[in-house]
Symmetry: C2
Subunit: 380 residues, 2 copies
DNA sequence: ATGAAAGCGCTAACAG
DNA sequence: CTGTTAGCGCTTTCAT
């Protein structure tokens, strides 16, 4: 048997579906009003309050009543209205998460960590994507707060614009920062030792003999030591840049700043142009440090297109041990971050807060680890 | 300046943070009650209803009143309580999405498509992950319905167990299926031509001369033609298997069913064992068709570990043009699906429904395309 | 243990 | 155009 094979009607072209104008005669089906505590109460012959007590699992009830109410609820297929419930209790059982780029597997893994502990603790997760855009972040926050989430986890897109985040904590809603800290903003934070990670990776490169090393970052709106003079807006980026520069200086490399470049989030074309330009310079770098795996993948592709061999002509190290990094030719050396654990940790802290923990803000720094593969060699 | 460098306190070990028991003396800060329409109304010297009208953007108001209310709202930093709003209107402005595996980039892309059109139409998205587990799917649905989402998008994990989905449509909440259809369940659906896709890819393999071709699928709970006799539970899987088998038979291959295998969602070890066993048979296949990119990646890794060269010893084709498939050695031939467009389409249909469209259910089939790279060659 | 009644913050009739 | 009055479905005193 092949049940799915017989379709009664097809709209083979996507563009032809939907939006079909209805004739005024169209019968609009009417649906049964959802069943409420009141309905259950009546059927179980008890008061609304009593029914609500057993349905909501609070307050006591006699065995007899409990049975009757439960039976009535099942018979009527009662489903509680979480909205109404949240309305009166003030708790929604939901935590809001705002990430920079949901398509980046880094965040995907973190979100799974968050979801796992959230669900284990009876919380739901509403996910929002800022696309590293501060305005999108603000509006996402607005919506989540409007929906009365019990707490928020945010990867702040910009450390210069934090009024909206401060407003959240001022309103008493727990907030925990993930992957990026905010200078002067003492709130629970879970990050990795970006500075050390960048320092170590860069040192590995200088030790291999490299003198012209580039750092390519994702974030569009960034820079402090950056060539164009704009301030670096994200803590992790800043720390990485600092670690990178320190390692370069320690190796006696002059003016390492000139090798710092940045692409953009979800802008492969822009990044490709940046890398192409970078590698087209006569004095091009012999090693590149990539700030995340999507950047690294794009660099990898670009180098491949330009027929620049890795690591013979240029060495590569990337942040984030993305799954594909071990199957490329050559497999790429990466900085492994405990992403899933970070997600779990950040959720645990948040849930503790939601449950009333008022300990001083925790600043949690997780260790990274360099996984050496075959994308690093001595400069040509 | 390096603002983030001076941390006032560190909890270097993740395990030492949070969960700090509070002394009973701990001062629990009290936060201001959030401002309501009433507060704004009083400050603006108008009635609650009037204030609500301008704040909610419905009904009319004189220019003077409008100004006063707006000013008061700003002064008080009024933020509407979406919960209360949803309560009375019955609409939450939110659509619920239940996907099989959020970490699979296939779903990641689809979700972005959904989010993009949702936001463009003023809707928010609540995302839930079923992990291809039917029970998780049911409970996710329960929660979303409880939160009174305006509509649902689901990639059903099992076509044999659809009572919960039917209950949703019976309650009048729009539901659109993504990537997988449900036999005998006439509801809006957006899928690709899985059967043709599998047929074409398999044919490409038989044309290259392969006679022993394996199909490796992700889903744990599957099989109809499957060796172990259990029924295939997901339409796309079934269609792909059928396309695969048809192409094999058409090439005169006897008993192609014996080459069908399945791993599991988020179970790399299991899959690796399956592939290892498959390739260890004396009469092992010379070509493999992978049902999605995470399966393909794992196969790729396993083959690499086993030192089985692609495509010299075994050819590989995978569903989904994941970003990494072009940088491996060799780059892998894939079946490209219009995932982002599917996400957009499914959201468009849903939003039309939410807005009252009562046209008959649309069954939308999108075309796929084979991208030929270098993982296919003649059998050894 | 159970019931009656009062709200949560907002929108939706219905008057004026 | 604006104010009054009811609720939405649930939880929560407060009696009984």
């Amino acid at each position: 048997m092949r049940p799915v094979s017989k379709k009664s009607y097809y709209y083979l072209d996507a563009l032809s579906t939907g939006n079909v104008e209805l004739s005024a005669m169209e019968k609009k089906p009417t649906y049964p009003r959802p069943v409420t505590v009141n309905d259950v109460a009546k059927r179980a012959q008890v008061s609304k309050a009593t029914a609500a007590r057993v349905l909501g699992g609070y307050g006591g009830a006699s065995e007899d009543v409990r049975r009757r109410v439960t039976a009535a609820a099942k018979a009527l297929d009662y489903k509680p209205n979480e909205l109404a419930r949240s309305m009166t209790t003030g708790k929604s059982g939901t935590i809001g998460v705002v990430v920079g780029d949901i398509e980046n597997s880094f965040f995907g893994l973190a979100v799974r960590g968050i979801s796992d502990v959230a669900h284990a603790n009876g919380f739901n997760v509403i996910l929002a994507n800022s696309g590293e855009n501060i305005e999108a972040e603000k509006s996402a926050l607005e919506v989540l707060v409007g929906k009365r989430v019990d707490g928020l986890i945010v990867t702040p897109a910009h450390s210069g614009d934090t009024a909206h985040l401060k407003a959240v904590v001022r309103s008493g809603r727990p907030l925990v920062l993930l992957d990026r800290s905010l200078p002067g903003f003492h709130v629970d934070t879970v990050v990795v030792d970006d500075r050390d990670a960048a320092f170590n990776a860069t040192s590995k490169l200088t030790e291999a003999g490299h003198r012209r090393i580039a750092y390519v970052s994702a974030v569009k709106a960034a820079a402090d030591h950056f060539p164009d003079g704009s301030p670096i807006a994200i803590s992790s980026v800043l720390e990485r840049v600092e670690g990178f520069l320190d390692a370069c200086r320690q190796a006696g490399i002059a003016d390492p700043e000139r090798w710092i470049r940045r692409g953009g989030t979800n802008e492969p074309d822009r990044l490709r142009a940046v890398v192409t330009a970078l590698m087209s310079e006569p004095d091009h770098p012999t090693a590149i440090l990539a700030s995340d795996s999507v950047i690294a993948l794009e660099i990898f592709k670009t180098l491949q297109i330009m027929k620049i061999p890795i690591p013979a002509a240029v060495s590569l190290i990337s942040f984030h041990d993305a799954d594909w990094t071990s199957v490329t030719n050559p497999p790429v050396t990466v900085i492994d971050q405990p992403i899933y654990a970070m997600g779990r940790k950040v959720a645990e802290i948040l849930i503790d807060r939601v449950n009333g923990d008022t300990a001083p803000a925790a600043f949690c720094v997780m260790k990274t680890r360099l996984i050496e593969r075959q994308s690093v060699a001595a400069p040509p």
